[in-house]
């Protein structure tokens, strides 16, 4: 009998502060089935419930539900709210299930296995890692750590490991760091803001892809069969989202999760000033643009369902969850079409449009690309590419590279073979002769569209890196920032994401050349003005301190 592929697990839909009819809103999510060990410990996630503040190592889920010939049981399906909140076993399962769900989401969107950023395979997840309002991913510790703290108001404990969006956010940091290792390099406010912004986008869309959450937003009392047409305009939906999820509840977690949800629906386009160079604020602009596209598509889908001033509640909920799900796929897939270094939001906009266009050249149902162009434009994000065949998408390379010296079969998995291809074509690809050049990854992917056709692509990243002294910048046509010493050591990055089609031809070659003067100069100036060359070595874990700052920021 074949192994039963999935299991259903009860999780808290957003966090324990979100209620309907007096009960915490839960969801039953589907994740890969596997034979779990105690912890639970599976093939990609290992829950270690160690609290370093008290030195306690809990024994969690000592006998996990396992079954091969059908879906394993869900021990928490019938548990009361109090039982869930007080059970370390449930906390462990909740964290395990939501990390696995996020991972599975990335894998299905990208059409391949997705590794962590570190060499081992099992992510350690500590659901009660420390007393403190923080949660973060630490690559060098191969771990996701969730804190807990007591509410200042009444002393009740608040748990990071019970907040769906926080778990999805931290897992996304871990996955993004594995997919694009150079995005934590100092570069520009937008690259610095991207990690946070993207993690927020995945977290919000993952939460909205749950029908239970959308139901809560549309019908907080949980009673109506039909809802008024006035309740499903973009403005009304924003209001309901705030009321249902962001405004009065869960405030105590805002130190851990930031204000992504609130900001994404309250940030007005005219406030999204491109001059605001604060990375966090830039990240919020990206979140706001994507959430605006989400609402635009959702509202567009509901229009035809309205009859006599009202519409079916279940239909509205289904549409909301489906739109979130599809947009999430577009955003994750877009990563493959992003340059590996010095990412700007304009690149991400083109990447999203290209990702969707590749899968759905004729988008007649959702019109995602129109919505993305509209919403990104409203927030000042213009696609980096004009798009020869479809507005805003990347263009194929202008010059044909030579294929006759390499073997495509080998190129699909072997970085050395790929490096030969890149090297032999270095003039076509405009590489710097003296830079250190390396193929970072080779990833064959098979993506399945909703209409069932498969799209085979091989995604390759290569990096160029050159170290020079400030006085030598002239050789690249760059100006030394005013006041910078001539012997200041500088590292410049360039590199591309190369997409091969199923015949082994380069479909896209997306990136930033070391010779791109405008971008290199902008990055240099930004780092110099921002005191990067003066600043101390940063704390060992950039994610821990980003979140710490978010909590402590005095503004």
């Amino acid at each position: 009998m074949p192994y039963y592929p999935t299991r259903r697990v009860t999780v808290i839909a957003r966090d324990p502060s979100v209620h309907v009819r007096g009960a915490v809103v839960r969801a039953s999510v589907e994740i890969p089935n596997e034979e779990l060990q105690a912890g639970p410990r599976g093939y990609r996630v290992h829950v270690v419930d160690y609290d370093s503040s008290t030195g306690t190592l809990y024994r969690t889920v000592t006998r996990p539900a396992n079954r091969a010939d059908g879906p394993p049981g869900d021990p928490f399906e019938k548990a009361s709210d109090d039982e869930l909140l007080e059970s370390v076993d449930f906390h462990a399962m909740n964290a395990y299930a939501l990390v696995m769900r996020t991972l599975a989401r990335f894998e299905s969107a990208l059409g391949r296995r997705v590794g962590w950023s570190f060499p081992s395979h099992q992510m350690k997840v500590a659901p009660h890692a420390f007393a403190g309002a923080n949660a973060f991913y630490s690559g060098e510790d191969e771990a996701l750590l969730f804190g807990y703290f007591r509410r200042p108001v009444d002393g009740k404990p608040v748990f990071g490991c019970l907040a769906h969006d926080i778990i999805a956010h931290e897992t996304t940091h871990a996955l993004l760091d594995g997919l694009r290792q150079r995005y934590t390099d100092p570069s520009s406010p937008e690259q610095a803001g991207f990690h946070e912004g993207f993690a927020d986008i995945v977290a919000l869309l993952s939460v909205f892809a749950l029908r239970e959450v959308v139901e809560k937003v549309l019908d907080p009392g949980g009673e109506a069969d039909r809802i008024s047409a006035e309740a499903v305009t973009a403005d009304a939906l924003k209001e309901s989202i705030l009321l249902g999820l962001g405004h009065e509840f869960g405030q105590e977690l805002s130190g851990v999760r930031g204000n992504a949800l609130r900001r994404s629906v309250t940030l007005r386009p005219e406030q999204a000033s491109a001059r605001d160079a604060e990375p966090h604020h830039r990240g919020e602009v990206l979140v706001a643009a994507v959430m605006d596209a989400f609402l635009t598509v959702w509202v567009g889908r509901l229009g035809p369902c309205i009859h006599d001033g009202s519409l079916d509640r279940r239909r509205a909920v289904e549409e909301g969850a489906a739109v979130a799900e599809r947009l999430l796929t577009i955003c994750i897939r877009a990563l493959d079409y992003c340059p590996p270094t010095d990412l700007q939001f304009s690149d991400f906009a083109s990447a999203m449009l290209t990702a969707d266009w590749q899968m759905y050249p004729r988008d007649v149902k959702y019109l995602f690309r129109d919505a993305l162009r509209y919403s990104c434009g409203r927030f000042g994000i213009r696609p980096a590419s004009a798009g020869r065949d479809e507005p805003g998408t990347w263009d194929p390379p202008e010059e044909e590279p030579a294929y006759d010296r390499t073997h495509f079969e080998e190129m699909q998995r072997n970085p050395d073979e790929l490096f030969r291809f890149v090297w032999e074509n270095r003039r076509v690809f405009r590489l710097h002769d003296n830079a250190w050049t390396r193929v970072l990854s080779v990833r064959p992917s098979v993506r399945t569209g909703a209409d069932g056709f498969a799209l085979r692509e091989t995604v390759v990243e290569y990096l160029q890196l050159i170290r020079l002294r400030a006085a030598e910048l002239r050789s690249l046509g760059l100006k030394r920032p005013r006041g910078m010493a001539g012997n200041q050591e500088i590292t410049l990055y360039g590199g591309n994401a190369m997409i091969f089609d199923q015949f082994g031809r380069v479909k896209y070659n997306i990136g930033n050349s070391l010779f791109n003067r405008a971008r290199q100069q902008a990055r240099l100036n930004y780092l110099w003005e921002g005191g990067f060359f003066e600043a101390p070595a940063t704390s060992a874990n950039p994610f821990a301190s980003i979140h710490q700052r978010r909590m402590a920021e005095f503004r």
Binding site: A131, A537, F554, R555
Partner: protein, 378 residues
């Protein structure tokens, strides 16, 4: 009434600040003490070093006002204990502190169990009740106007939550939230270990952790230690950014005292044209945060018009650094205080005075500035 002279006395308190301004109006004198604290005494100083300074302050005569720029030990420790009694006995008329210390305005900010430097904080509040307590913010009156007639006093920081929000074009953050964060940070740094959250949950006895978990447990303990360090740093930064920034101006002479303000605090002042114009004319700059790399924004330093690379330039800017090397940071990580590159820039373009260069026998120096357009001399 306009002053004809001001005398600035700077003490070597080690790592901390203590400045006394004496404005002379003919035969009459008005005195303001700006900060009195230390977190590490000068090397080889006697145990009662701070008390001696308190007595020295008292010996100068009447003290009219006290400014406590922010609630850090190195700025207010001298307002507690025996030293605090000496200062309180001088009956200052006005006590100036940042708006964040106001016990009435923000909800739930009354001193709680976690307050740091409690004795000093309470003594400052008591002195304020005795005289007049002023909790100021950027653009507001300093409360020193009556004490110092003929001196224009500008408060350039700290911005309120609304002012900060305006700079960033965003909605003002709720005041309660700010207080919760600050108190929360304080409780995290000072708080005891939390009680057992799951008293009935099964657990491993110490030393019986399975082999496959041991590596991670060691890492988790190290992360915990780093977290605490980060929290202390975060709290520090929040408090530094509540520093009162004062600019005193009379005629064409002006002095700037920014406490430990960092860039977030400066942002309001640097965004106001009028403020920038005033900052341009500064003659005496009390260097922020003991010369650390993050308290003298490049944009501020560039504004000062009296900078000059010529040591004998008339009216050259005077920079005062009150610090003690080797107490904080490391040169390797570029975090040493005072920061070498900043000190080099200060020495290159201004007359640099550093309290730690004072001899042990006389741990203070007076700077006298005639206030009728005359030449400054010590």
């Amino acid at each position: 009434m306009t002053p004809d002279k001001v005398i600035l006395r700077a003490w070597n308190v080690g790592f901390g600040d203590c400045f006394l301004l004496t404005f002379r109006y003919g035969a009459e004198q008005r005195r303001i003490l700006i900060d009195f604290g230390s977190s590490a005494p000068p090397p080889g100083a006697p145990a009662n070093h701070m008390l001696r300074i308190a007595r020295d302050i008292a010996a100068q005569g009447r003290l009219h006002a006290v400014v406590a720029t922010h609630r850090h030990r190195d700025h207010i420790s001298g307002f507690g204990g025996e030293c605090g009694k000496v200062i309180a006995s001088l009956d200052p008329e006005v006590v100036v502190q940042p708006w964040t210390e106001d016990p009435d305005a923000p909800p739930g900010c009354a001193a709680d169990d976690d307050v740091q430097n409690r004795a000093a904080v309470e003594n400052l509040a008591a002195m304020g009740r005795q005289g007049r307590a002023v909790y100021t913010h950027a653009g507001a009156p300093s409360g020193l106007e009556d004490v110092l007639p003929g001196v224009e006093i500008r408060v350039a920081g700290p911005p309120t939550l609304e002012q900060s929000a305006a700079i960033r074009h965003e909605r003002a953050r709720d005041a309660t939230e700010f207080w919760q964060f600050r108190r929360f940070l304080e409780s995290q740094v000072n708080g005891a270990a939390p009680a057992d959250l799951f008293p009935h949950a099964p657990r491993f006895a110490p030393e019986t952790a399975p082999e496959n978990l041991r590596w991670f447990l060691a890492r988790a303990q190290r992360i915990r230690a780093e977290q605490r360090k980060d929290l202390v740093r975060a709290l520090d930064r929040v408090l530094n950014n509540t520093s009162v920034i004062l600019l005193f101006r009379t005629g064409d002479f002006s002095m700037l005292f920014p406490g430990d303000a960092q860039i977030e605090n400066w942002s309001w002042a640097l965004g106001q044209k009028q403020c920038r114009d005033l900052l341009r004319g500064v003659n005496v700059y009390k260097v922020g945060h003991h010369g650390s790399f993050n308290a003298t924004p490049r944009s501020l330093w560039k504004l000062f018009a009296h900078r000059s690379t010529k040591p004998d330039a008339p009216g050259r800017l005077l920079s005062l650094v009150s610090t003690r090397s080797g107490k904080h940071g490391s040169e390797r990580a570029h975090t040493e205080v005072p920061r070498r590159t900043l000190m080099e820039a200060l020495a290159r373009e201004s007359n640099l005075f550093c309290t730690q260069d004072l001899p042990k026998s006389t741990p203070w120096r007076d700077f006298e500035f005639p206030l009728n357009g005359g030449k400054s001399h010590e």
